[in-house]
């Protein structure tokens, strides 16, 4: 008689717990040296509920199937010159931000989960982290392959690996992941597993993927679908981690709350870049950033924290400040892109009249009062042949590394300045959220590599803007500056003319 086939649950049990063993040559603390110093207390690792019972054989089978579909679509997109069918040449700048600002962080996430996948002493937790680690590696690969087709035609994409470590605005996502990866494994799991992949992930992926769909970018949409089932597994892992930590010991609550507060705020600052992308860079718009925030954070996040309240966990500190700031951040960040795109690897532009009206409609409390006049002034300068670029180097926040451009809560006409002094040196912050993070661990953040400060210290290729841009691998006059007058625009127009002449 043949043995009965194992159930999925049993197979997963064998893969995780059964492949684990009690060490006898080495003390267990020497094998897992990283999972105690953060102060998290785990009474019983076997209390870990496996969030997804996926065995390696089925994992490879599913992923291979998804890859086959994705690469078939990418091939078809290339053969049909799909790049000519997007809504407008401006749209490609969304992909430039995605490839330079997000894809390298998928790789950082891969490395982070590889680390936690080695260093938790619970076998089930390790296996879950290892799978996510492989997912993240797959994501960076598929994103690069998807976007490489656009790189054949448009500028600003080819130097993304070097730029990740050098260019000023890319230090924002880089420092976010560096901060998480240089923390202990439990903080990493709350930072990336919970705050990023659970709490905020929809605000990252929905805008990009729906934006792609609305704007005719079928290859990116297909990548999004290919990542979607992975993302749902990652969300399950993120929620399992936080519940597990809170269930294990009451002493864990204040530590976890502090991490939730910190990573919510860091995530909010990082997502401000997505906010500008969503409100300003999509030729065909999906929804406003404010609407997305209300659905995915205020409603969905609110329900989540109501559910977590039974463990004593509260809404992240400054969640109310963030929600108020959502009336402003996309406009403020587009102002940043507009006036600093001469030193960036993508193009920005003045929104047209219809676009400004759409913003007035979506932001009735703030746009006409605070931001329309700003664009009006700049449009006038453009008309006079004096397109405005910021002439100086901006002051950066010593935590999030964004320029100090955000305004006081409750007063959008006043820049928010906060500072702390540590060992006789002053450090500046854009917000109470960023200042709190620094004040909790100043020894960590005094080591931040702030791009503007590094230029002044002489570490970025030279003292002049052309020297720094060369060191940034930015091709001046091609990759940077306004979209109007760029080679990208000329290419897009030539395709449009070709279509017209073919039609006539």
């Amino acid at each position: 008689m043949t043995a009965k086939k194992l159930s999925l649950k049993q197979r997963y049990e064998f893969l995780t717990r059964d492949l684990d063993w009690e060490p006898s040559y080495q003390p267990i603390d020497a094998i897992f040296p990283y999972d105690q110093f953060e102060g998290i207390k785990i009474k019983d690792w076997s209390g870990w509920e496996d969030p997804f019972r996926l065995t390696m054989d089925s994992y490879w089978k599913f992923q291979a199937e998804k890859e086959r579909k994705l690469y078939a679509v990418i091939d078809a997109f290339a053969q049909n010159n799909g790049q000519t069918g997007i809504s407008d040449g401006r749209y490609v700048n969304v992909l430039k931000i995605f490839l330079t600002g997000i894809s390298p962080e998928e790789y950082q996430a891969h490395r982070g989960f590889a680390f936690t996948g080695r260093h938790f002493r619970g076998a089930g937790t390790r296996v879950a982290c290892q799978m996510q680690s492989i997912d993240e590696l797959r994501h960076v690969q598929t994103q690069i392959h998807t976007i490489s087709h656009y790189n054949k035609f448009f500028d600003g994409m080819s130097e993304f690996p070097a730029q990740h470590d050098r260019v000023f605005y890319l230090s924002v996502p880089k420092s976010f992941f560096d901060d998480a990866r240089s923390a202990g494994p439990f903080e990493f799991m709350i930072a990336i597993g919970f705050a990023f992949e659970y709490l905020l992930t929809n605000l990252l992926f929905v805008p990009f993927m729906s934006g792609a769909a609305y704007n005719g970018d079928m290859s990116t949409v297909t990548f999004g679908f290919s990542a979607q089932s992975d993302e749902s597994r990652h969300m399950t892992l993120g929620i399992e981690v936080i519940k597990f930590l809170l269930e294990q010991h009451p002493d864990n609550l204040p530590i976890v709350q502090k991490w939730v507060d910190k990573w919510f705020w860091r995530g909010f600052r990082l997502l401000g870049i997505v906010a500008a992308m969503m409100d300003y860079m999509l030729p065909k718009k999906v929804m406003s950033w404010k609407e997305a925030w209300d659905i995915y954070f205020v409603e969905a996040g609110g329900a989540l924290f109501k559910d977590l309240a039974r463990y004593g966990l509260k809404m992240p500190k400054y969640a109310d400040v963030a929600t108020e700031a959502c009336e402003h951040i996309s406009h403020q960040n587009w102002g940043l892109f507009y006036q600093l795109c001469h030193v960036a690897g993508f193009h920005a532009w003045m929104p047209d009249a219809a676009h400004l009206d759409w913003l007035s409609e979506k932001y009735p409390n703030t746009f006409d009062k605070y931001y329309r006049p700003r664009f009006e002034m700049w449009a006038k300068q453009e008309k006079d042949g004096k397109r405005f670029y910021f002439n100086g180097l901006p002051q950066l926040c010593s935590c999030c590394q964004l320029p100090m451009l955000y305004t006081e809560p409750g007063d959008p006409t006043k820049t928010c300045f906060r500072s702390s002094t540590f060992k006789d040196t002053r450090y500046h912050f854009c917000s109470d959220g960023c200042k709190d993070i620094f004040d909790n661990e100043p020894e960590k953040y005094v080591q931040s590599w702030l791009p503007v400060n590094q230029i002044f210290q002489g570490n970025c290729g030279g003292a002049t803007v052309p020297e720094v841009l060369k060191w940034y691998h930015i091709n001046v006059g091609v990759d940077n500056g306004d979209y109007v007058g760029s080679p990208d625009e000329a290419l897009w127009k030539s395709w449009a003319e070709q279509r017209l002449s073919e039609a006539s």
Partner: protein, 121 residues
């Protein structure tokens, strides 16, 4: 030490990346024109401590020159704040003598000028 680290002697390994010594004898100084926040943020500039305070006005003219309010700035009437304290800088004396240190924030208001159409832009 408040950082949570696995290394007990973490403090010995800190690489400070923004100390004054790293700026080749200069102070990094931040300057901000209040009520003109269409400019992305305060600007930073490294200056030797013996730079006369008046030089800051000259640098600011270069940075802010494109703004419609720029031509109307009367520097004699500007109101100043250095590191959150009201100040009456002596333009002829050095920034150091005026109390400007490494990474000081110098904010100034220009009475009568409140940004494009009075919107602080």
């Amino acid at each position: 030490m408040s950082v949570i680290a696995i290394t007990p002697d973490y403090e010995k390994h800190i690489q400070y990346r923004d100390e004054q010594e790293l700026y080749h004898g200069s102070l990094l100084v931040y300057v901000h024109w209040e009520e003109h926040i269409s400019f992305v943020s305060a600007f930073g500039v490294p200056l030797p401590p013996d730079t006369p305070f008046g030089a800051i006005c000259e640098i600011a003219k270069g940075i802010y020159g494109d703004h419609p309010d720029a031509a109307d700035v009367d520097w004699a009437k500007a109101e100043w704040m250095i590191d959150d304290k009201k100040a009456t800088p002596d333009f002829g004396k050095s920034i150091g003598e005026n109390g400007v240190g490494h990474k000081s924030l110098i904010r100034f208001w220009t009475p009568g000028l409140h940004g494009y159409k009075g919107t602080s832009n």
